[in-house]
């Protein structure tokens, strides 16, 4: 096995939060003997992991779990209390895009400054400038001062510098939260490319779909230690579980119960009879019965089917359903059924999850249940992949001989 690209052993980091900050000389002079008392905040409490060269490694965790501190220790910005951090190759941190950008300078000057801060030497930075401008799609604007750029253009420029920095190990913190959709897609393409190119990447994010899409492995931090490390789907699911459990828990403290709850979810056949197994390819429906405990405006019920690893294969919402009322009154129930007309799910056991959302934007989650019912799809296709589309096989033999090239 090759040497790991990043090796972290028993990493500890504590911040001292003084009760009374002695930060002026006068206080020091007047109270020379008073030791400032402080709380020790153990932000990182014994972190161990290794990242292999070429691995795309995700780091997830809630705010305050220590992931930013871990990143800053890894980036060499903070000094660790104890432990080892060994990085093989050149490391470039991207904790924020466009660090050191100066609005009075042109793109050209900013690119050089930003790249040199990242450890690229000035000559290389100038050589790569054309690539950077091309990637950022800035063409004719290169000699414009940065302050005349739109924020989207600034982000594109910053991201382009990052891509061209050519570091062996990249630390990336939530950089994709910015930019328009087209550029985000481009960033995703770059991530694929970097992954293919065998770059070692550590990505810190809240976005579980990113983790599942790109990462080979992921770790989840909780209160300064590693809660879970392993395959991205498992880590992602655990993250959602912990997050929602705690959100709901908080709501229970403030109000007695969430505004609405999921009474029941079930599978049914096309006629509405409850079933626990469906022949492969036959239409069936997923259903939920929800109850409002207080008025819920713009209720939206989301139902999804996932496999045993939590990967969703199908998801739909009640949006567009003619009988969904604009407001659900307290005590009112709502039954939602979504009929899958031509299901292609492969033969396997499938699980049903449900979320209640509210508000016209449909992003405010009231409550959520995962794996609340299951169904067995049976039929001819063995469960090797989530989709079981009907197919037939064609084959023909041929000769490997080709016409000689003249």
């Amino acid at each position: 096995m090759p040497d790991p690209a990043v090796h972290i052993r028993d990493l500890h980091k504590t911040f001292l939060i003084p009760h009374q900050r002695v930060s002026t000389i006068k206080e020091r002079v007047l109270h020379p003997l008073r030791r400032s008392t402080h709380d020790a905040l153990h932000v990182l409490d014994g972190i161990d992991f290794e990242v292999a060269p070429g691995e795309f490694f995700g780091i997830v965790g809630r705010n305050g779990s220590g992931k930013s501190t871990l990143l800053k220790c890894l980036a060499g910005i903070y000094k660790a209390d104890s432990g080892e951090i060994v990085v093989r190759g050149r490391l470039a941190p991207f904790i924020e895009l466009g660090v050191g950008f100066n609005f009075e300078l042109t793109a050209r000057e900013n690119v050089v400054l930003n790249a040199v801060l990242m450890g690229v030497n000035p000559r290389q930075a100038r050589e790569r400038f054309d690539h950077i401008v091309e990637f950022a799609e800035l063409g004719e604007f290169v000699d414009l001062k940065l302050k005349n750029y739109s924020s989207g253009m600034q982000v594109r420029l910053a991201f382009a510098v990052m891509v061209e920095s050519d570091a062996d190990v990249m630390l990336i913190d939530e950089v994709l939260a910015v930019g328009d959709a087209a550029f985000q897609q481009k960033c995703l393409d770059v991530f694929y490319r970097l992954r293919e190119a065998g770059k070692t990447i550590l990505l810190v994010t809240h976005d579980m779909s990113m983790v599942e899409r790109f990462c080979h492995r992921a770790l989840m931090l909780r209160d300064g230690s590693i809660e879970l490390m392993g395959d991205p789907a498992t880590v992602g699911r655990r993250y959602l579980q912990v997050n929602f459990a705690e959100t709901i828990g908080l709501e229970f403290e403030r109000i007695d119960a969430p505004a609405a709850s999921v009474r029941e979810v079930w599978f049914s056949d096309a006629e509405g009879r409850r079933v626990d197994s469906v022949p492969h390819g036959q239409p069936f429906a997923v259903n939920a019965l929800i109850e409002a405990h207080e008025p819920v405006s713009h209720p939206l019920v989301e139902l999804w089917i996932s496999d045993r690893d939590g990967r969703r294969a199908f998801a739909a919402t009640s949006s567009g359903g003619a009988d969904v009322p604009p407001t659900l009154d307290a005590g009112q129930t709502l039954e939602v059924g979504i009929v899958l007309e031509e299901p292609r799910l492969a033969s396997d056991r499938w699980y049903l999850g449900c979320a209640i959302k509210r508000g016209s934007a449909g992003v405010d989650i009231v409550t959520l249940v995962e794996r609340a019912a299951d169904v067995l799809i049976y039929g001819s296709h063995p469960p090797q992949a989530p989709m079981g589309t009907p197919f037939h096989v064609r084959a023909a033999t041929g000769s490997a001989q080709r016409d000689p090239v003249a």
Partner: protein, 278 residues
């Protein structure tokens, strides 16, 4: 592909072993700052020439026409200009250095780079100003009728120690300011005191005889006195003579060296913690 293993648990260093990176970064930051200083002004970079010219006009009128401060000091107006330019370099660079780490918080908290690049770059920016100013100084020195001598070539022997001293003090102040925000007002008062305590407007020999030696304990005073001897007035005593030779000369040298060593030591000790204390 380089697969050098680096241990990062020690946090950011002040200087790092990669001197090329430190120097190119310091230089780039300094140049940026120098260029930005005159943006949006009508005269632009011309101001770096205009400022010493205007300074000279004021000094000339006040100290030679209104109060006859110079008395019989030879070439007093140009001596005054040179002293002001050299001394202003020191106060400007150190004054900027005090808050430099805090002002560049965005860089320090988000990037890993040798921390000394920040105070170095402020000193370098002042060096660029100094360079322009010195051209003006020499233009006036010639215009005033001072004969060029070979000792003008020794100017770097004044500038190099001055820049090193300024860098040492700048590092000390910037690192301490992260912990103690009192440094800023203290230093602005200290700079003013130092201005009057240093023979800038006057020369050492105008001070009472028993104080002369002590005035020259100040490394800046020692350098100004030597610059006067080499550039403006070869008949004036050099620092070595004025201070009384051995062993007195060792005092300003020790203070000079001490400032550099302490500044470097303190900055180096504080460097790993700067990001989290800002």
């Amino acid at each position: 592909m380089s697969t050098v293993a680096t241990d990062l648990s020690a946090g950011p260093s002040a200087f790092s072993r990669d001197w090329r990176r430190l120097s190119s970064l310091s230089w780039l930051l300094a140049r940026t700052k120098f260029r930005i200083a005159y943006f949006n002004s009508v005269l632009g970079p011309l101001w770096s020439v205009m400022r010493p010219l205007m300074l000279f006009a004021v000094l000339y009128v006040v100290f030679t026409q209104i109060v006859d401060f110079g008395g019989d000091i030879p070439n007093y107006p140009v001596l005054l200009l040179m002293n002001m330019v050299l001394f202003t370099f020191f106060t400007e660079a150190t004054g900027q250095a005090v808050g430099s780490l805090v002002e560049n918080e965005g860089l320090v908290r988000k990037m890993f780079f040798p921390r000394a690049a920040i105070p170095f770059s402020t000193v370098l920016t002042s060096c660029l100003n100094l360079g322009v100013n010195l051209v003006v100084v020499f233009a006036f020195v010639l215009a005033y009728g001072v004969d060029p001598t070979w000792t003008w070539l020794l100017l770097p022997l004044i500038l190099a120690p001055l820049i090193l001293f300024t860098t040492g003090v700048g590092m000390l102040l910037s690192a301490l300011y992260v912990r103690y925000r009192d440094i800023s007002p203290i230093w602005s008062v200290a700079s003013t005191m130092l201005f009057y305590g240093t023979p800038v407007l006057y020369v050492v020999s105008t001070a009472p005889e028993r104080f002369q030696r002590y005035l020259l304990f100040n490394p800046i005073a020692a350098l100004l006195e030597q610059a006067r001897h080499w550039i403006i007035d070869p008949t004036a005593p050099g620092t070595f003579e004025a201070i009384g030779g051995w062993p007195w000369i060792l005092v300003p040298v020790a203070i000079w060296l001490g400032a550099i060593v302490v500044g470097t030591w303190v900055f180096n000790r504080e460097a790993p913690w700067i990001a989290e204390r800002l």
